[in-house]
């Protein structure tokens, strides 16, 4: 018997520490599982469902299911990747995402995953929601049209910045992020460019003002490397 525990991910053994989720263990071992609402510094959220895997034949979210010895996990299969493409398409049509004109292009996890999973079209009819921008803050712009409801800003502001600037309100497709001020405007909060919440958005919903094309499109993070390659390399460097 070995002195560490493992589970099988797509047939390969992955070591884990007790208490780790399957996603945490897989990422640490350099095996990428697609994800959007996950962030290593925050508790599992489990809402985007990109990390849906099969554990011993049952579907689950890799970010919430704890790793256990002997589990047989499948992730990189045509079925699961096909479902992931559908989830990405859902997110693309639910909001309004115009990659070519978005300052986040090349640094956006949604766009990067769409490339990585070879999503070629949005497929479904666009919802074209009407979500006004909030440009009230001197340093930060919020374009709610690009929001994917991952609540990372909500969590970062609450748990790290100690400010509680955002909340998720509404129900169903009417779900939306609200700003905690009587006017509902960001300018009327104590939000600052230095906040963790100002830099945690995986897509282009929260952007610093007066920064445009400092790094040209084509040379940005995911322009250079696929999001999966990058995650796997990062794990190797840390090991």
């Amino acid at each position: 018997m070995s002195d560490y525990e493992t589970f099988l991910l797509d047939g390969r053994p992955v070591r884990f520490e007790r208490g780790q989720t399957i996603l945490e263990a897989a990422l640490a071992a350099g095996h990428y599982i697609p994800n959007l609402c996950h962030h290593p510094e925050f508790k599992p959220h489990g809402s985007c469902k990109l990390c849906t895997i099969k554990v011993n034949g049952r579907y689950g979210s890799a970010c919430t299911v704890k790793a256990m010895p002997g589990q047989e996990v499948s992730s990189d299969t045509p079925e699961l990747n096909g479902n992931r493409r559908v989830l990405l398409q859902m997110l693309f049509v639910e909001g309004s995402h115009f990659c070519p004109g978005c300052e986040k292009s090349g640094n956006c996890a949604l766009q990067a995953l769409a490339y990585d999973l070879e999503m070629l079209t949005p497929h479904y009819a666009h919802f074209y929601p009407s979500r006004p921008l909030d440009a009230s803050h001197p340093d930060v712009l919020i374009d709610f049209n690009r929001c994917i409801m991952c609540e990372l800003c909500v969590r970062a502001s609450r748990e790290v910045d100690g400010k509680n600037v955002f909340a998720l309100a509404g129900r169903g497709v009417a779900s939306h992020v609200v700003v905690n001020s009587p006017s509902g405007k960001l300018a009327d909060t104590d939000f600052a460019l230095t906040d963790k919440a100002a830099h945690i958005c995986p897509v282009g919903a929260i952007l610093p003002k007066r920064v445009g094309f400092a790094v040209p499109i084509g040379s940005r993070t995911y322009d250079v490397d696929a999001i999966s390659t990058l995650a796997e390399r990062r794990a190797t460097e840390e090991a």
């Binding site: 489990g46 559908v86 049509v93 509680n164 309100a169």
Partner: protein, 599 residues
């Protein structure tokens, strides 16, 4: 009706004080605050946030989640038409349109004089006596055009709802077949007395021996749930009665709460006796507001009889009391962790499980969540013992099950059967002359066609929370699934991607089919979406939301195909329709002129 700022402030203060300024009671506070003006203005949101020490966005998060909270002015009279498929089959739309015409108000709008607003709402649990409506939250069954006129006149003459003729609000129990539970007399206190005589350990053994499984549909073994909560390390435990009977077509809990409340409450006390919980909470769906006062009265009566409160039946240390929380229009709160979130004053978004509520539930304490019917059943076990109970039903599904029968049958209502009863038997008993299909356990359940009427109601065959909707041979099963698709899109909590977006896309595709613009392509799309939602959704709502569509496509494909365009594909965007207005303005009448194949 607008109150002056000062008077409003004082009333709001009273609401906050009455709720101990406890943010955990936010849903209750919003309900009471809304009663002041009929809606919740922004100043009230700010005042509540300040009064509870919460961020405004946190208050909004709860406020915007529930269908019965309004952020814009509503009419003095809010009339909501139940829109389950059974209400539609009984003609609710014609009555709605009649009323809308008489008031001169459109769906979702307020009349210019601020008198009335009209809208539809999800199933209100009166399917056996529909079409049903809610007026200012109070249920009125058996709507007809005549009743609509009567209600119109009452509203026009501004008679307060409390002064309306009592017969409008009369709700029948329609118990058509009574068995073990509905057919036996019950002396309040008798089950407690029997359990106290046995002691908590021995009584738990009996509950386990009975193999009683949860009547909410999931069928978890009650004794195992109780034991887990009892064994969990904690200084406090809670018993929650899930009376959020929101599954369209289900109304048996409504009958139990109205006619058998002492059974429900005594079942909760029994759960408290076994697990050591001292607090019970009833989560009553907002649509059942008319049951609140009688239930509160019943609780007072039980306290006076020492069947609730301190030292129940004189047993020192056996303290248990019950509090009723009202829901506010959110189907998802029937899911136990969403229900707990709602009890804590939050939006009803289901939690990640594990941990399960028996370990970490309400206020992060061990919590037993039981269905209304399950709690009634434990009183039987206290009186008859587990072994006696085991004899009824099937091996894996012991005891009886109450069905809520509605739709195309002569005798809709409540039917109690031993588990294992065949679907065909129920159809015969309720007088369904020529049934084409039965939707069992509501939109989230299973649709059975004629060839499956030999199947049995049981956890091991066709499990159900109770709904049994019958569709006659003349019914269009596409219309049924279309209604369900909009129900799920409306009720999805919005937390996870597959359910939030998937239910909305499915509803749009069903609209496209209804409009005659869809092709075989859309049929495949619906199936594919269902697969993604079923395998990827966070909770049962999304996992089952596409089920009725998949079932009806599989079993009643003709009902869909009749509506399909005979083409390979038609785009979602209808260019002709989009150009119609421009054509009208420019006086052109050559529609389709842009189409190459148009001769």
């Amino acid at each position: 009706m607008t109150k002056t700022g000062k008077a409003h402030e004082t009333e709001l203060d009273r609401v906050l004080d009455r709720n101990r300024r406890d943010r955990g009671r936010l849903v209750q506070i919003l309900r009471e605050a809304q009663a002041i003006e009929g809606w919740i203005p922004p100043e009230t949101v700010t005042a509540i946030a300040q009064g509870l020490g919460m961020a405004i966005g946190e208050v909004e998060s709860t406020l915007e989640f529930y269908s019965f909270f309004y952020r814009r002015p509503r009419g003095d009279y809010v009339v909501l038409f139940s829109d389950n498929i059974t209400d539609r089959m009984l003609g609710n739309q014609a009555i709605f349109e009649h009323m809308a015409r008489r008031f001169g108000v459109a769906r979702g709008e307020v009349s210019p004089d601020g008198l009335v607003s009209l809208d539809f709402t999800s199933c209100t649990g009166l399917c056996d006596q529909g079409p049903a409506i809610l007026v200012n939250g109070i249920a009125i069954p058996k709507m007809t055009l005549r009743r609509a006129d009567q209600i119109h006149d009452l509203i026009r003459s501004k008679v307060p709802v409390s002064d309306w003729p009592k017969d409008l609000f009369e709700i029948d129990h329609n118990i058509r077949r009574a068995d073990m539970l509905l057919g036996s007399d019950f002396m309040p206190g008798s089950a407690l007395k029997a359990a106290i005589a046995m002691g908590p350990e021995a009584f738990l053994t009996e509950v386990k021996r009975s193999n009683l499984r949860g009547r909410g549909g999931a069928g978890f073994t009650t004794g195992v749930k109780w034991e887990a909560a009892k064994k969990a390390q904690a200084d406090e435990r809670f018993i929650v009665c899930n009376a959020d009977e929101g599954e369209p077509g289900t109304f048996k809990d409504r009958v139990l709460l109205q006619f058998y409340p002492e059974r429900v409450f005594e079942g909760m006390a029994l759960a408290g006796f076994v697990t050591g919980a001292r607090h019970g909470l009833v989560y009553l769906r907002g649509e059942y507001l008319y049951l609140l006062a009688p239930l509160e009265e019943k609780l007072a009566e039980l306290r006076a009889g020492r069947l609730l409160g301190r030292a129940i039946q004189g047993v020192e240390g056996f303290d248990f009391d019950i509090e009723i929380h009202m829901g506010a229009g959110a189907y998802i709160c029937g899911e136990e962790t969403a229900l707990i979130e709602s009890l804590e004053g939050k939006a009803g978004r289901p939690r990640i499980r594990p941990p399960f509520p028996v370990v970490c539930g309400y206020r992060n304490k061990p919590t037993v969540v039981n269905n209304v019917e399950t709690l009634c059943k434990v009183t039987e076990i206290a009186l008859q013992g587990g072994a006696g109970y085991e004899g009824f039903g099937t091996k894996q599904s012991t005891g009886t099950k109450i069905l809520s029968v509605s739709g195309d049958c002569e005798r809709p209502g409540i039917y109690e059967y031993p588990f294992g009863v065949r679907v065909g038997q129920v159809l015969d008993d309720c007088g369904a002359r020529s049934p084409k299909a039965v939707q069992i356990s509501g939109p989230a359940g299973t649709c059975l066609g004629i060839r499956e009427f030999g199947r049995r109601i049981a956890f091991e065959d066709v499990p159900t929370a109770g709904a049994f909707m019958v569709f006659g041979e003349h019914r269009d099963m596409f219309a049924v699934a279309h209604n369900f698709a909009h129900f799920f899109a409306h009720e999805s909590c919005g937390f996870c991607t597959p359910c939030r977006v998937g239910t909305a896309i499915q509803a749009k595709i069903m609209d496209k089919i209804a409009a005659g613009h869809a092709t075989q392509y859309e049929m495949n799309e619906l199936q594919h979406l269902h697969d993604v939602m079923r395998t990827g959704s966070h909770c049962g709502l999304g996992q089952t939301a596409g089920g009725a569509i998949a079932d009806t496509i599989g079993k009643f494909r003709d009902d869909y195909e009749q509506k399909l365009a005979r083409k390979d594909f038609e785009p979602a965007f209808d260019l002709d329709a989009a150009l119609a207005r421009a054509r009208a303005v420019t006086g052109r009448d050559d529609a389709d002129s842009h189409m190459l194949d148009h001769a």
